[in-house]
Symmetry: C2
Subunit: 243 residues, 2 copies
């Protein structure tokens, strides 16, 4: 019944309903207006995401396609080959082509769907190593499995694709680094977002959505506001709404 918004991505999307998460904040923003679906898959890269596409975004579903979707991959694709997370690594050219396939599929679902590309956040290599030591102690990796320099290349390709396809995008890699102390302020383990980092994503997403016309303020309530219900003859209020 309500318009749908789908958040498609990796763990940074998957964890977006944790306390202070950007997904929950988005769901709250669209309260009584649209449903926000968390389709975040921790650890997934774009290569694996392709296998989910037809089930998450069916081409011939019984439901209306989503009005908007965020595509937020790259943090795992950018894991370095030859390091501890290499099984998640996807070469950057393939990453870009996989993103392109995802976008094309979504546009096949609905040419009017707002599709927003989000780059991976930056990497705080020290924070990443600290986190590994805190979890694995002596067995922790000796070299970071992701670097900020390599992740930047993925972010750049993501933004390039958005420009090629004339899609709105969020350069989270750059945005987060605009603030001094971003390493600890916005990232909690060198990669995943703190509550403040989630707030940055939320503000960016709402900003891009509103600019593209997907704005909670512009969307209708599904039923009358309680103050508009005729308390003596409530059926009148609901008949009007349904006609």
């Amino acid at each position: 019944m309500r318009p749908q918004i789908v958040l498609f991505g990796d763990s940074i999307t998957g964890q977006s309903f944790q306390l202070g998460g950007w997904g929950a904040a988005l769901a709250n923003n669209f309260s009584r207006k649209a449903d926000v679906f968390n389709r975040g898959y921790g650890g997934y890269n774009t290569r694996w995401a392709l296998f989910l596409l037809h089930q998450i975004f069916p081409l011939h579903g019984l439901m209306k396609p989503p009005v908007a979707a965020t595509i937020f991959f790259g943090a795992n694709d950018a894991a370095l080959f030859g390091r501890s997370s290499e099984r998640q690594h996807v070469p950057v050219e393939e990453y870009k082509e996989n993103l392109r396939k995802i976008v094309h599929h979504l546009k096949d679902c609905s040419s009017s769907m707002l599709v927003v590309l989000i780059t991976p956040p930056p990497i705080d290599e020290d924070g990443r190593m600290e986190y590994a030591r805190s979890v694995y102690g002596e067995r922790a990796m000796k070299e970071p499995e992701r670097t900020n320099e390599v992740t930047q290349i993925y972010a750049k390709h993501c933004i390039e694709l958005a420009e090629e396809l004339s899609l709105p995008s969020i350069n989270l890699w750059a945005k987060i680094q605009e603030t001094d102390g971003w390493q600890k302020k916005y990232l909690r383990d060198g990669l995943h977002l703190t509550a403040e980092g989630n707030e940055v994503v939320y503000n960016e997403v709402v900003g891009v959505f509103e600019k593209a016309g997907v704005s909670a303020a512009e969307m209708a309530y599904d039923f009358p506001h309680h103050s508009e219900i005729d308390a003596k003859n409530p059926q009148n209020s609901f008949q009007i709404q349904c006609s």
Copy 2:
């Protein structure tokens, strides 16, 4: 595709995706397992809720019916007749019968649906008056529009109905008052929940759900965990999942 959980209620449900909200926490708990839908309608009583039933819970929909639903009304029904919120007032016997109609409708949708009744929270009358003064100043109501004593009667009828229908229920009115200082600890304006109050609701709902067999731990992931994907031949992992 995923099982659905619907939260049906008034503002205490509608606000449940705010920071620290019980709905967002529930969505996070069921991450990758089930979708949680916020169907909270601020200011609504059970009389008005009846008008929404067929649209929120269609009897002959294309979608599978929800696996679980919370019904969380009464805070507005219990507004006092003759006071400032009297338009929301519903007599307690009608409140109980309206709840019964809601339950019957949900069971008509799906006899296996887990339906959980939640009583309204208690009222902190001082907190309510303070809040009114902070918003309306001199024009604030001179007498509380809800009392804890009257709300207790609604809570009692809600629990009685749950017993009559052999449904699980949460006596939030009683539960919240078990803790000293509940007035400010759990309520922020004498009626609506603080983050800590939301945590109480979340814990109660998850507890009742698990006892009734709706447990995230027992539900399957919709797609393989990333650690189980065959990185060399990912298609194998996804074929297995779909078969």
